[in-house]
Amino acid sequence: MSAPERKIKILVVDDEVQIRRALKAILTARKYEVILAENGEEAIDSAIDSIPDLLILDMALPGIKGIDVCRELRNWYKGPILMLSVISDDYEKAIALDMGADDYLTKPFSTTELLARIRALLRRVTPDAIVQPVINAGDLTIDIAKRIVTRDGKDIELTRMEFDILAYLAQNADRVITSKMLLEKIWGPEYAEDAQTLRVHISHLRKKIEPQPSSPRFILTETGVGFRFSLS
């Protein structure tokens, strides 16, 4: 007999009662433990009290904004943060991710989508710490240490920039990486705003690694925010 499994704790922060109610219903039905908070102040208090395994945070909160809550929590909180947003604020989504949020979901969303994101985020908590030397995604193999990329066993020649972009995205697979993060990581902080150049590189990269570059399966675009590397 194994010990009864500890329930996973999720803190839901949203000022709208309907959303809180819906999320609580959906999540408790899936055996998650749900804690609710209506605003930023409450969210920070609850996070300190209960240390949740995951945080679902609405961006448009009264008082302290979701982004600021995120920044505040990131000083000590290591768990995944999933932001909820409405369709119109792509710009803020990117800021939230730069502030340390791990993913976002646009309202209205389906239950399936929500649960998939939660599972992906929770799965990532542990293996994140270990850097994998070789990453496999379908028939694509990225050898980080040797700087070799192969598809179907054939070598693919990439420029230094292209390899760095691919390696960084793949090491953070299934996570949204904002253009700013990529640019800062690869080009340096002074290039953080040059998203156009990044897009041109990504376009070249896709033409080399994707079976069909116009319908990419590895490097997915998160419109207005950044990119996500898909392992599946």
Partner: protein, 527 residues
């Protein structure tokens, strides 16, 4: 001949003296060949000549000079003013009278003729000017034309047109100076003063206000601000209608330093009056256009509100009906029927989401921050961004078929994506419900195409333009209640803004194919 004429006009008296001296020098060697009386006729000829060239006053001087020289050189005893024959006294005085009379008549005739010619010139200039006023020329063009004609007519060194703006504040529309010397600062102040007082500045005194050519003149006034006592040599003419003053016409001092006289001012006033009517018409026109635009915008808003509230209410009503049906206590639902009902709720919710997105796009389009921000994007990303905006359930009906590679394009991604989204929603809504909607793209030499194709009945040729108009709903769409009637209009606006084209054509074998074509620029070089 021309130089002679100009000289005579400018220095009339000198010309007169010279004529008499030359004539006398020429005549005197022959004074013994003709009778003494006959020389008088030759002198009369000179008087006529001077009158014709230089006008009345020099002619009178000539007459008097001739009177003395004839006496001195041709009436015996020669070279004295004394006269022997008493009959000569008589002829001498008759000569004077005739010469004076003749000089006056000829001189007047000349002056009338010159006046008539000037008048004719003014008239033709005015006619030409008014011909331009009838055309729909822009205000600045007319002001420019007026200034150049005024300067040509008066030989002024500068001119300017001031107009009142909508709030009644005077501003300088245009100004021209010879040799680009900047205009005096005081000109602006005086124009302001003249505008506020509705008074002209610098006009010559008008003797008889009853003179018909004076009726309608602006009230004459001289600018008498402290410290500016000297008479001004320039003119400020109000552009005045019966009820309102439209602006000020400024005419700088004459290049020759003379003041403006009555005959200078008359055509200027006539021209100013014509221009005033034009400026007034233009002002009223812009007021009318603005009012019309306002009415149009209000109409648009109310149509939009009614159309959108319908769009929002219908699915909500349908959801409420379904839910209340499901929650009726005495009903027992089997699982399949229950699922079906819930699926219809989901359809309605998708519809609501579409409408709200459309509304958001529209409100962004109306606010100023919807200026396209052109950046380089993968065309595939643009297409997928549009597809991802379609609610899940409808999205599954879209069959995307892209070529392996697509170019980079310089666009505003959000805008082109919503233009494409509108085409998708349009085809998903109006095409047959159970067949896929096809989405494709292609790359040509200088442009790329994105198209959305349905398997519906297609669009009749006479409707192909009109379906892109605001609130136009295709004839075949009347059986559908949904749609704001704005989607395609918004798409067209966006595509045109990007220098592209949008149209609808027949799909093969049948159906409608909506096409967006966008120009391709050269991809940016990477360092």
């Amino acid at each position: 001949m021309k130089t002679l004429k100009r000289f005579a006009e400018k220095h009339g008296y000198l010309f007169s003296i010279l004529c008499v001296i030359i004539a006398t020098t020429l005549f005197s060697p022959g004074r013994d060949y003709f009778a003494k009386g006959q020389w008088a006729f030759l002198y009369l000829l000179i008087v006529g000549l001077v009158a014709g060239f230089a006008g009345v006053k020099p002619a009178l001087l000539t007459a008097i000079l001739a009177f003395f020289t004839w006496n001195f050189f041709f009436l015996p005893p020669y070279n004295t003013f004394r006269i022997h024959d008493p009959k000569d006294w008589l002829s001498l005085f008759v000569f004077l009278v005739v010469a004076v009379e003749m000089g006056m008549q000829t001189g007047r005739m000349r002056e009338h003729e010159a006046e008539a010619r000037a008048h004719e010139r003014e008239m033709s200039m005015l006619n030409q000017f008014s011909a331009h006023l009838v055309s729909d020329a822009p205000v600045a063009d007319i002001a420019k034309l007026m200034m150049s004609q005024v300067m040509e007519m008066t030989h002024a060194d500068s001119a300017a047109v001031y107009l009142a703006d909508v709030e009644g504040k005077l501003y300088e529309l245009l100004s021209v100076t010879n040799d680009d010397i900047p205009m005096e600062k005081s000109v602006n102040q005086i124009a302001e003063w003249a505008y506020k007082q509705s008074k002209a500045v610098g006009l010559p005194k008008i003797e008889k206000r009853s003179d018909p050519s004076v009726v309608g003149w602006p009230i004459s006034a001289t600018f008498d601000q402290a410290g500016a006592e000297k008479e001004r040599k320039d003119l400020f003419i109000p552009l005045q209608t019966a009820e309102k003053i439209e602006g000020i016409l400024y005419i700088g001092p004459k290049t020759n330093g003379h003041s403006y006289c009555f005959s200078d001012v008359r055509p200027l006033i006539a021209m100013a009056n014509q221009a005033t009517a034009f400026f007034e018409r233009k002002r009223l026109q812009s007021v009318a256009v603005r009012a019309e635009a306002l009415i149009e915008a209000n109409k648009l808003k109310s149509t939009l509100i009614s159309s959108v509230s319908h769009e929002l209410k219908t699915p909500i009503a349908s959801i409420m009906a379904t839910i209340s049906n499901l929650t009726t206590e005495d009903m027992k639902w089997d699982a399949v029927a229950f699922q079906q009902e819930l699926a219809s709720v989901q359809d309605d919710l998708d519809r609501l989401t579409n409408s709200i997105n459309a509304l958001l796009n529209l409100s962004r389009l109306e606010s100023e921050d919807w200026k396209p921000k052109m950046e380089w994007f993968d065309l595939a990303d643009v297409i997928w961004a549009a597809v991802s905006k379609i609610p899940q359930k409808q999205r599954s009906r879209i069959e995307v078929n892209l070529p392996n590679e697509l170019p980079m394009v310089r666009v505003d991604l959000m805008q082109i994506a919503s233009a494409l989204e509108n085409l998708l929603i349009n085809s998903l809504t109006y095409g047959p419900q159970d067949v896929p909607v096809k989405l494709g793209a292609s790359e040509e030499d200088e442009y790329c195409r994105i198209w959305v194709e349905d398997k519906g009945p297609g669009i009749a040729p006479d409707e192909r333009e009109r379906i892109f108009e605001k609130f136009y709903r295709g004839k075949s769409s009347s059986r559908f209640s949904s749609g704001t009637g704005l989607g395609l209009a918004v798409s067209r606006e966006i595509v045109h803004y990007h220098g592209g084209r949008i149209w609808v054509e027949d799909a093969i074998p049948h159906g409608a194919r909506f096409v967006i074509s966008l120009p391709i620029e050269k991809e940016p070089q990477l360092q």
